[in-house]
Symmetry: C2
Subunit: 328 residues, 2 copies
């Protein structure tokens, strides 16, 4: 059984970890893992060059979460992290002190940068880095080309997404998101195949606009999602009218979508009508949206979707697979 996940950072990583826990029970490989093959296609639109090193926030969150090294309390970064380097770096007064650059995380950035400088693609560098963590999934960047999400502010300036998101906490009025480098970009090797050949394709509760939206924007991806024989199930990143994490509501507002579970489903759209999903899982807190979506032809279900721990995330994955079973 092949499952492919189109993932941003924390939400996608936690969902995938739950999925793996579920699959280890259902399709055990006898060694604590699963015989199912899980591929995660990661958004790399948040990537940036910082002080000469390449930072890939979502790839790292996935790697640390699935490799057992994540700082659970925040959902990203390394456990037992320290800031010896960045505290000292601040004395040079170069700015970007708002961007957390942990010592252990920096080791990953330096290793990645070394591999890229040796001429490896981001895909190949990711394979190398992932070896250390013995990942139970195949981790693919959406693209080996640099595609960096920027925010066009009200005064027409382009600000890197990480600056808007982390430094300004999404408080700068945004006109639109611009994916710099998108036109010349191609999906990374294996991305289209992992979608086309999947038995199940999942859009986890990641940022629908700048994470999943950016993956779907890579030339060729949306088309193969539309054409795959796999059922495509999405999980709402909105619970009770508010994003589970971060400032997704601001991202949604920027593109004119309400911060509601049903509105995000409609933003993705049904494959039968030119969209990307076949089914939608929303939180029990939003169950009152089920009849309306069902009336529009959606296969939709409500379940607890807050991934407070691995069993809770496995429960979300179980609800996704139940939806798959209900698909024709």
């Amino acid at each position: 059984m092949k499952l492919t996940v189109l993932s941003g950072g924390v939400g996608g990583a936690r969902f995938t970890r739950g999925l793996l826990a579920l699959l280890a029970q259902r399709l055990p490989d006898g060694a604590g893992g699963t015989t199912a093959q899980v591929t995660v296609i990661a958004n790399t639109g948040d990537d940036l060059w910082l002080h000469g090193v390449r930072v890939c926030p979502d790839l790292d969150t996935l790697m640390y979460t699935l490799g057992g090294a994540v700082e659970e309390s925040q959902g990203w970064g390394r456990r037992d992290e320290s800031r010896r380097v960045s505290d000292d770096l601040a004395h040079y007064g170069l700015g970007w002190e708002w961007f957390t650059l942990g010592d252990l995380d920096l080791a990953t950035h330096l290793a990645r940068t070394e591999l890229l400088r040796q001429g490896l693609t981001l895909s190949a560098a990711t394979v190398h880095l992932a070896q250390r963590w013995h990942l139970p999934v195949r981790l693919l960047p959406m693209s080996d080309d640099a595609v960096e999400t920027h925010v066009e502010t009200a005064d027409g300036q382009l600000v890197h997404f990480e600056e808007w998101w982390v430094r300004w906490r999404a408080s700068l009025p945004a006109r639109r998101f611009v994916q710099v480098g998108l036109n010349g970009a191609s999906p990374a090797p294996g991305v289209l195949e992992a979608i086309a050949e999947a038995d199940v394709l999942v859009v986890p509760p990641s940022n629908a606009v700048v994470s999943v939206g950016t993956i779907l924007a890579i030339p060729g991806v949306r088309e193969v999602v539309a054409a795959t024989g796999a059922p495509v199930v999405g999980v709402s990143p909105i619970i009770a009218g508010a994003p589970v994490r971060g400032m997704l509501d601001t991202c949604l507002a920027t593109i004119g979508v309400a911060a509601e579970a049903a509105a995000v489903a409609r933003h993705y759209g049904r494959r039968a009508q030119g969209g990307v999903l076949d089914a939608w899982l929303l939180d029990t807190a939003d169950a009152d949206a089920v009849p309306g979506l069902a009336g529009e032809g959606w296969l939709v279900a409500a379940a607890p979707t807050l991934m407070t721990d691995v069993p809770a995330a496995a429960g979300v994955a179980e609800a996704v697979l139940r939806l798959v079973d209900r698909l024709p």
Copy 2:
């Protein structure tokens, strides 16, 4: 009074610190410093890109030593250093684990790299970095162009000097040193002026081959040293037939020079005969070489040259200035 020093790392840095202590006594500025203007021209031939960041060993040793942040026990690197990043980085198995990449030192490398990526020259980046340390000297890289010393090994391979020096402890048989990038390189802004307009030019007890030798090899530098009106005094980096630090003897052997105080003097040569020095200070342990050198026309003196602490280094500087006074 203007003094200019052509410096490598530890030896040049310690000499310069002693010189500043001496000048603060002789030419005090009333605030603990000196009214004398000291310019240090640093070798940058040991510089390298490592994991995406620009490492400049000699500039950093000078900056930390003259900025009061150096780890005295080793003469380079930061005090209270740690290796959180590099210990973790080693788990990625990329090699170069032999190259010490301290956390605090890494902050400097990251800051420098950021400045270079912003388009600053190495000179301008060095000014920025030096501001933090309130350096009592003007610190100039020998060149803003990348000139990287490599070692041609017996089998014809080119190995970066730092790899040969740090990893192989100069044990790989070397045919010669090659300065990659030398032909297209120019002296950094201010370098030629600092030599031409100096009242005293000092060649401290740095590595005569790969530190001072590399500075002198930058097109135009040797000529302006030959032509400057300043007296040029050298200090022997050899004491009692052995290098004070490192594997200078191996470097000297590679270019066919004996590891003796007199041989190094003759390698530099007297300006009167097309060389670069007017006078030579050697250690009292090598005082038996004085008559021979004097017989060849050298202005030469013996003094304790081991710079065990700042007063000792000030004593070396004092001996240098005594030699200057003896010049015609």
